[in-house]
């Protein structure tokens, strides 16, 4: 049966939600920063984009281009709730919904199209109206309709803001011949640059490169993928959404500081702060991990290391212990701006240890979980963490890499 997939994309999500919340910001150029004092715009409103200020632009550049741009800190906790509400809207349409990121979802209506949604363009408009009813009239979205997730996403990316666009047999090749690689899911910057050297700037052109040339230039995997891209077929990246994932394989947390950190105590305190969040998440999902990773970045330098343990861990004292051990390996002590900690090789079926010392730590950890789950993540924590006003709190990311955790189910 030919599939019918809808891709729904909220326009300029982070900025649009802030404009929905605040009528004084509507119709004005708006830049969203991660927090007060941050200098990179993580999202911009459509009005800012019209002036050439897109995501990733620095604060000073944005102010040079548009001195009257308003810069507002993101409201991550509100975005996650908003996404959950959209998920409910989508689940009322079809049981087959994939939340792809905070502001994007795929809805498969293949099995209900004939009887419930014979006109998919009307369905797209109904979804747009439902989103407005649920979130507010300022929130506009694009809906792409196609026979694969790949083409549905391309359709919504390239359609004018607020439109519903269906890929048909008649317009398919035209779309593939006019869409730049920046709007093609799965083709990254490096790959697009390599293709550009061959004079290839749109998917359709790939069809004219002999397969053997593709293979020698890109290798067997990417040859296969690029040919799928050329004909608008489902790519490996998007087909992974069908893969059943029982639980998260790793939980990591990174943070870029406001300044360079040289003080070793400050650095280790930040690492402990990140460990608290990781252990909290891992324990809420009843998992434990065997691999601990540490990464530090600063002044164009990068250092990382990891250790694979014999037994999985999910106690805070264990994770901090192993991070300290890894930290001791760091010899070239450059000033640090970015910190990254990860606990990987997570598993559900880990065996609890019988050693009294382990049991004691488990009892302490359980007590901490109980208090922190009720009163907030940093109610009880080790003494050596950053001062209260500098604590790093959990946040959601735009691509929602931890959606199994955040949305409470596989989506």
């Amino acid at each position: 049966m030919k599939k019918t997939i809808l891709h729904v994309d909220i326009n300029s999500y982070f900025a649009t939600i802030l404009q929905q919340e605040n009528p004084f910001l509507r119709g004005k150029p708006l830049g969203v920063i991660k927090d007060v004092g941050r200098t990179c715009l993580i999202a911009t409103s459509k009005e800012a984009k019209e002036k050439g200020i897109g995501t990733g632009v620095g604060k000073s550049d944005a102010l040079t281009i548009c001195p009257d741009i308003t810069l507002i800190p993101a409201a991550f906790n509100r975005y996650l709730d908003t996404t959950k509400r959209m998920q409910k809207v989508f689940r009322n349409i079809s049981p087959s919904v994939n939340i792809y990121s905070l502001d994007e979802a795929f809805i498969d209506v293949t099995h209900c199209r004939k009887n419930l949604y014979p006109n998919v363009l009307e369905l797209g408009e109904m979804i747009q109206d439902s989103i407005k009813r649920e979130l507010g009239s300022w929130v506009t979205s694009n809906v792409g309709v196609a026979d694969s997730r790949f083409m549905a996403k391309m359709a919504s990316e390239t359609a004018p803001k607020g439109e519903v666009f269906e890929v048909t047999a008649e317009n398919r090749d035209l779309i593939l011949a006019t869409t730049e690689f920046k709007d093609v899911c799965g083709v990254g910057f490096a790959l697009a640059r390599k293709l550009k050297l061959l004079g290839v700037t749109v998917p359709y052109q790939i069809r004219f490169i002999p397969e053997e040339d593709l293979s020698s230039l890109f290798g067997p995997f990417w040859t296969k993928e690029l040919l799928k891209v050329a004909y608008g077929e489902e790519t490996h990246l998007l087909s992974q959404l069908d893969r059943k994932v029982e639980h998260m394989k790793s939980v990591g947390r990174s943070i870029t500081g406001y300044r360079l950190y040289r003080d070793q105590t400050e650095i280790t305190n930040i690492l402990k702060n990140l460990c608290i969040e990781i252990v909290s998440k891992v324990r809420k999902m009843n998992l434990a991990g065997r691999q601990v990773r540490l990464g530090l970045y600063g002044q164009n330098k990068y250092w990382s290391t990891h250790i694979t343990l014999k037994n999985p861990i999910n106690h805070l004292n264990d994770l901090i212990h192993w991070i300290n051990i890894l930290y001791q390996r760091w010899e070239d002590k450059f000033p640090v701006i970015k910190f990254a900690v990860r606990l990987s090789l997570l598993r559900e079926d880990f065996q609890q240890e019988l050693l009294p010392s382990w049991q004691k730590h488990e009892a302490i950890q359980k007590a901490m979980d109980l208090v922190n789950n009720k009163f907030g993540i940093f109610t009880l924590h080790p003494a050596a963490v950053p001062p209260k006003n500098e604590l790093i709190y959990p946040e959601v990311t735009g691509f929602l890499g931890d959606k199994i955790y955040q949305l409470g189910e596989e989506t």
Partner: protein, 81 residues
């Protein structure tokens, strides 16, 4: 920018179709009729459920918070242009 206030307030509103909608709030002995609820969200602070309302009242935007455990209302922030 948003200016932090973080003070207790009293709120009057109505329940309609399983949703609460604030209609007036009293802050600093002054009553503010709510013209529009622009956004509401459920968030968690630990296990404590809170509901955030952004409301337009008397020409200003206010962020209100309802603690669903203690049933307390707070005015968190006001938008200052």
């Amino acid at each position: 920018m948003y200016e932090e206030i973080n003070e207790d307030i009293s709120v009057i509103g109505i329940y309609k179709k399983h949703h609460f909608s604030p209609k007036k709030f009293k802050w600093n002995n002054r009553v503010f009729p709510v013209d529009e609820v622009t956004l509401s969200n459920d968030v968690r602070d630990g296990m404590i459920k809170k509901r955030l309302y952004s409301v337009v009242a008397s020409g200003n935007l206010y962020r209100l918070e309802f603690n669903r455990e203690s049933e307390q209302w707070k005015i968190l922030e006001v938008w200052v242009d």
